[in-house]
């Protein structure tokens, strides 16, 4: 047998959704984490409740890379609907663990593959007495097979099962027994003919397991959010649902048990954003969480937020568009929409978290930014970050106190010579904001409106007044770069990378593509410098980075090269240097794609 391949392979498990495979896959994942491995888990599920294909890819690597690996080394094709496709798509040498009890299987499909055929149904029939439980438990058998074949120790398996069923010992016991059936079958009936092995590792010190939406929800709690208005939409729903749970447990209640927050499930996204903006106007930190289609609906009300200068935090957990698109696939394709949404000259700052820890940090920061700049702020997450389970650094407590921004309280007004709701007294473009109940000064009474207004908030159709106000708004948004998170530079090591066309190359990416990018660069002898954007509008340092390179390649997950467009817009004199490499297939980005993008850099004449 060839030499072992240890901790460097990926498994792809195909099952119909709604059959309990989710639990089994999670158990495998957690067992590996228990062994000290930092696996990557990508759940590829359909937009359906039950019966359509699901694929789960678990991947282990030497450095705990979290990106998806394109090819798989082990295939478990337990969905008859996709059986033939799963085998045809498997590369030669792939290990296949198939269901020996499946009828009508064309053996020719296994040519070139290493086949372990396991009679899952028979084992289940013999070993699981409760007929009602059998369909669910059947999936635990393949967990046991995987454990025994590739070396997951029993204690890790048991610990994982206990973690998945923390309060149900009997259920955990029956699950473990089902898994044992699979382990026993391998011990007694199967001879290992493949090189793949798991071995204990040291990748998990100080790490946690958390979904991106969960981390973002926690960020809202620690960001002082007290009003949540939302409408369910894949892949954003779980953010609101986690938030509901966290608020109930972590937000201290009044002595009589009353809640210091409220959650309203709105009738649609227009209502959700209306409530969030209305609540912010009245002085409570409010948020909503949605995806592309919801943002489209929110456009008009967000324009009011921009022009009337009302804070708000909106999460866009991006999915594949346009229109209904692919609700369960990931993309980074709402950037242009969000940046300039709503009619007229608007701009909406965006934050780009790359991992769960940043989802937490930037979520908390978003509330301060929204109130400081008195404007809606967007946290641009995506389905990959939001709904997959990530190995992450522990979340850290905020280092700065809550910043409510410039409020027109009586104390502040007493010191100001002049005040108007839209008057720039400090020269930073940011006025002093009124909140009902926070001031008694009669000067502050006014009607907040989305129609044209003067510095005092009075209706005005005067061209000069209108232009002055709009220009101040533009200055205000320009000024957000002072507080928006700065980009992260991964400087070049050793020799600087030349693009295929000659000349120095720089790489730009943002959001979850970071994992694939860093993995690709780690495998190169002379990787290009890589700048990871964390916000828009862009810092001046982004322009500096582009200026330092003859050519800059933007890696992004959309068809139109949206961030490349934004960069060219921001730095027009540098536009010719900017190209984008675009993946938009809807799957989480792989390092292979990035490597391909760097190697295929077109030569310039």
């Amino acid at each position: 047998m060839s030499a072992s391949i240890v901790n460097d392979f990926s498994l792809r498990i195909a099952t119909p959704n709604g059959t309990g495979s989710q639990t089994s896959n999670l158990i495998i994942f957690r067992s590996l984490f228990h062994m000290g491995l930092a696996p990557s888990a990508k759940n590829l599920f359909p937009s359906n409740i039950q019966g359509l294909p699901t694929w789960y890819q678990i991947r282990v690597s030497d450095a705990g890379w979290q990106a998806r690996r394109e090819e798989w080394q082990v295939m478990i094709p337990l969905n008859p609907m996709t059986f033939a496709q799963d085998l045809r798509e498997s590369l030669p040498g792939t290990v296949v663990i198939d269901n020996a009890d499946q009828k009508g299987v064309d053996a020719a499909l296994f040519t070139g593959l290493t086949r372990y055929s396991v009679p899952f149904d028979s084992i289940a029939r013999e070993g699981i007495s409760d007929a009602k439980l059998r369909p669910r438990m059947r999936n635990l058998i393949y967990v046991g097979v995987v454990a025994e074949l590739f070396g997951i120790p029993e204690p890790s398996l048991r610990a994982a099962i206990d973690a998945v069923f923390p309060k149900k010992k009997e259920v955990a016991d029956s699950n473990f027994e089902a898994a044992m059936l699979g382990m026993r079958h391998v011990r007694e009936k199967i001879e290992k003919r493949d090189p793949y092995r798991f071995a204990p590792a040291d990748q998990t010190a100080g790490k946690i397991l958390i979904e991106g939406n969960d981390a973002a929800a926690l960020g809202c709690v620690f960001g002082g959010c007290s009003v949540v208005s939302w409408y369910p939409i894949t892949p954003a729903s779980s953010l609101a649902e986690y938030l509901i749970g966290h608020l109930a447990k972590m937000r201290e209640k009044d002595a009589d048990g009353s809640n210091r927050y409220i959650v309203i499930q709105a009738e649609d996204e227009l209502a959700a954003i209306g409530m969030a903006i209305g609540a912010n106007w009245a002085g409570a930190r409010a948020m909503t969480s949605t995806s592309g289609p919801g943002i489209s609906l929110m456009s008009e009300n967000l324009g009011l937020g921009y022009y009337a200068e009302i804070p708000c935090v909106v999460f866009d957990v991006q999915r594949v568009g346009p229109s209904t698109g692919l609700p369960t696939r990931t993309q980074q394709s709402d950037l242009l929409q969000v940046a300039f949404q709503s009619h007229g000259d608007t701009r909406f700052p965006m934050l780009f978290p790359a991992d769960a820890k940043e989802a937490f940090e930037l979520s908390t920061a978003a509330f301060d930014l929204a109130e400081h700049y008195q404007t809606p702020i967007f946290v641009m997450s995506d389905l990959d970050l939001g709904m997959n389970l990530w190995v992450s650094d522990e979340l850290e407590y905020p280092t700065t106190p809550i910043d409510r921004g410039k409020l027109a309280t009586d104390e502040v007004l007493a010191k100001l010579a002049d005040w108007g709701r839209y008057l720039d007294v400090d020269g930073d473009g940011v006025p002093y904001r009124t909140v009902p109940g926070k001031t008694t000064d009669p000067r502050t009474a006014h009607l907040t409106r989305g129609s044209g207004h003067d510095e005092q908030g009075r209706y005005s159709e005067d061209p000069a007044v209108y232009a002055r106000n709009l220009d101040r708004l533009a200055r205000k948004i320009d000024g957000t770069v002072d507080r928006l998170p700065e980009p992260v530079l991964h400087a070049a090591k050793g020799k600087k990378k030349k693009g295929a066309g000659g000349g120095e190359l720089g790489l730009i990416a943002f959001g979850t593509t970071d994992h694939a990018v860093r993995e690709a660069l780690a495998g190169m002898s002379s990787p290009p410098p890589y700048l990871r954007l964390r916000a828009w509008p862009f810092h001046a340092s982004v322009g500096d980075f582009i200026r330092e390179h003859e050519r800059v390649l933007v890696i992004e997950q959309n068809q139109q090269g949206q961030v490349a467009h934004l960069l060219r817009m921001a730095f027009p004199e540098l536009a010719p240097r900017i190209e984008s490499s675009r993946y938009y297939g809807g799957l989480p980005l792989s390092a292979a794609f990035v490597r391909g993008a760097l190697e295929l850099e077109p030569a310039k004449a």
Partner: protein, 353 residues
């Protein structure tokens, strides 16, 4: 009842003040930009009068509106209060958000029939279902004024435009709809009937829940010709009401003298009372079924039912259902809002293996 407190017949004296020491003028706002004779201005006057009489503190009021002629009017009353003129058809959501952010504020919203019954129909329905506490006034003229006279969804089929065209769709009766949705305060009035409208507004300000008042408000520019079912003439001729409303504020100690059975006395949550003096025919407005029956009957006779159509004070509200803190969320500080460092550290324990 409250009237008795204001109109003293003595000659030239200092302007009357309410229990806050304010005059009625101090409840005014900016000059109106409505057309001369517009019904909306009469409604604004009624709001001013109601607010003055009950001694409303402007600092505790938030004025809400959508988009349209009537949505401009919050600028013309109670200028000392803050307000949010939102987007077309979306006042319910903004008002709901503002309300839950600061439950100590009284929300008073002005909308039109286009704003509420067309683009805003969905949000109106869900606002009523949620029973968020606010005064919701629809200034109903059967047309879109600002965009120059198109029919609205409340325009009756029988009601021709100035050029003789008729609506081709069934009219929406907002009171009937609100009733159907379980609204606990359904009233209709007329911009020309202050005697009826002011006590209804006062009761609405006291009501703990959604208080809906459909106020027919003739559009003198586009829809006040005699044939229009939303004209002054038509309303005067077809208005029917079964009770005369009167409002007794909680701080007033006035004995209402009626014979037993001659009036329905509804106690409101803040201790004030809505007294409905029965007229010749009568029905029990606290009964939703009765209200629905009478509404249906009057409608089929071409009559316009006004007054307190239905009132029920026992419905759970949005914030009672959410067990919301008595302290307005907007007033909470970092100590109340941000969990401790220890809490985060403890939570992290549950995310490690």
């Amino acid at each position: 009842m409250s009237e008795a407190a204001s109109e003293a017949p003595s000659a030239a004296s200092a302007p009357k003040t309410n229990r806050l020491g304010l005059t009625k003028d101090q409840y005014g706002g900016a000059p109106s930009t409505m057309c001369k004779g517009c019904g909306h201005d009469r409604i604004s006057e009624a709001v001013i009068q109601a607010a003055f009489e009950v001694g409303l503190d402007a600092k505790s009021l938030i004025k809400m509106s959508g988009i349209g002629c009537s949505s401009k009017t919050p600028a013309y009353f109670i200028g000392r209060a803050l307000g949010l003129n939102s987007t077309h058809g979306r006042m319910p959501s903004f008002a709901t958000g503002a309300h839950v952010a600061n439950r100590s504020m009284t929300a008073l919203g002005v909308s039109g029939d286009g704003d509420t019954a067309s683009i805003g129909m969905g949000q109106f329905v869900h606002l009523v279902r949620r029973n968020a506490r606010m005064v919701y006034i629809v200034e109903n003229n059967g047309v879109y004024g600002l965009t120059k006279g198109q029919f609205s969804a409340t325009a009756d089929r029988a009601s021709p435009s100035k050029r003789g065209a008729h609506p081709t769709e069934e009219a929406i009766d907002l009171c009937g709809l609100a009733l159907e949705l379980g609204c606990g305060f359904v009233a209709r009035s007329f911009s020309g009937d202050k005697k009826q409208l002011v006590p209804l507004l006062e009761a609405a300000l006291s009501f703990d829940g959604l208080a809906f008042i459909d106020v027919i408000s003739p559009c003198v520019t586009f829809n006040n010709h005699d044939a229009s079912t939303k004209s002054y003439t038509y309303i005067k001729e077809h208005d029917v009401h079964f009770h005369d409303p009167a409002y007794v504020a909680s701080f007033e100690h006035i004995d209402v003298e009626y014979e037993p059975g001659a009036a329905i006395d509804v106690k409101l949550h803040d201790g004030s009372r809505l007294v409905l003096r029965k007229l010749e025919k009568e029905y029990d407005p606290t009964s939703r079924a009765e209200a629905a029956r009478v509404l249906g009957e009057t409608r089929s006779r071409g009559e316009v039912l006004t007054g307190m159509i239905h009132i029920a004070t026992d419905k759970p509200t949005l914030i009672s259902g959410a067990k919301l803190s008595k302290t307005p969320l907007a007033m909470l500080g970092e100590k109340e809002l941000r969990p401790s460092k220890q809490a985060l550290a403890k939570l992290m324990g549950s995310y490690r293996f």
